[in-house]
Every structure is written in C-alpha cells, then in structure tokens.
Amino acid sequence: MKKGFTLIELLVALTILSLFLSSFFYLFGNQVRATKKLTRAITRHQATLAVLNRMRCDIKAAKKTLPASSSSRLCLQIENDTIEYFFSGGEVKRKKNGHTAPLSSVGEISALSFSYAGNLVEAKINNQGLTLSLRNQE
C-alpha cells in the first residue's frame, strides 16, 4: 500500500520542476529586459514627437527664419515674436521673446540639428527628422 511519495520520486519531481522553472525565469528575465529597452525607445520617441509637433506649429506660422539660425539653433519670426529652438544642458529649449522654457527632460533627447533649403526647415532629433515648409512667407 502506498502512502505518498518515496524520497526518490520527490527528488525526481523537484529536479524536473527546477529545470522547468530555471528555463522559465530565464525567458521571463529576457522579456523584462526587452520590454525595458522598448519602453526607453518609446519614451524617447514620444519626447521627439512632442518637440517636433511643437516646432510644426511654429514653423507653419512663421514668416521667415531669422539670420541667427544655424545648424544648432532655429530662430523664427512669428508676427512680432521671436522664437528660438536650441539644445542645451540635455534639454530642448524654446525661447520666446527672452523667456526660455524646456520642452523635454534630460536623457530623452540626445541631439538636435537643423538644416535649411529655400523655405524648408528640416529638424532632426535623435536621428528622426521632420521637414516643414514656412507657409506665411512674404
């Protein structure tokens, strides 16, 4: 008559269970790492989109880019306001008539550059670019 497990049976069962659990936790660990990496990529992407969308509004409303514009700084004239975009201290900053406000947090955006061709402005953030044209040119 059986009354339960023998020691051998218990050991075999535990060995199989531990083999299974170690492979499961290995896979689970991989997934967690991959998810964290993807989350970082998405956070950066969202920050990029937020800044690009802000720029889109300004560039479309702008009459002209000011001569102070360079590959690291975008200066726009909108009505009677002067708006500048630049990258400093790990943040993208927008300066309107002397008042500066950050558009991103430190670590989200690593590079910002501009290039110009005619009435087109290309803004490049973290290797993602958006080209926009100035609509209200006189």
Partner: protein, 113 residues
C-alpha cells in the same frame, strides 16, 4: 488499492500542464513586444512620409508636374505624380518600412494656384 497521495506520473502530468500554460504566457509577452515595435516603426514612417510630402509641397507646381516617378528614403519610398486635369495633380507617396515589411501610403492633391 488505497491511494493516499499523488503518484509520480500524476505529478509529471501536472508539470506538463503548467509548462504549457507558462509558455502561452511567454508567447503573449512576445506578441505584445512585436506589436509595440510595429507601432513604433509606423510612427517613425509616418513622420518620414510627411516630411517628404512637405518637401514636395514646397516645390512650384510646374516642377511637380514635370517630375518623373522617383524614390526617397534610400529607395524605400516611391513618389508617383499623375495629372488629373491640367491644373490639378495627384500626389501619391508609398513607403515600405521594417520590421514587418508593411507599407504606408499618403495621397493628396495639388492645384496650380
């Protein structure tokens, strides 16, 4: 025979069931990751195709009308411009993007004034 506990075979069967359930869970994780990656790429592709459309928008009507079918974004994108009437053009952009080899299309009209 009077059984009072599990047998080894019963225990192994229960492990097998547990394993199947756990692998389903793992599979869901992988699907979630794939879909999120696809959404990220779609969002990037949208910006790329918008940029190209914006570049075309800045060109004068005459040079758009004379433009042959061409490529952008290192050959992953196609520009097709067809006249509808003499003063109206159909602009069609197609962009193929990884990793799921999907494509995105943007279609708009441009008039001469």
């Amino acid at each position: 025979m009077n059984k009072k506990g599990f047998t080894l075979v019963e225990l192994l069967v229960s492990f097998a069931i547990l394993m199947i359930m756990a692998s389903t869970y793992n599979y869901l994780f992988i699907i979630g990751k794939t879909r999120t990656e696809a959404a990220l790429e779609l969002s990037r592709a949208t910006y790329l195709i918008q940029s190209e459309m914006e570049r075309l928008h800045a060109l004068p009507f005459a040079s758009l009308a004379a433009m042959p079918a061409s490529a952008f974004a290192a050959g992953k994108g196609q520009i097709r411009i067809a006249p509808i009437t003499p003063d109206l053009l159909s602009l069609q952009l197609t962009l193929n993007y990884s990793p799921t080899s999907s494509s995105i299309k943007l279609h708009t009209l441009r008039s001469s004034n």
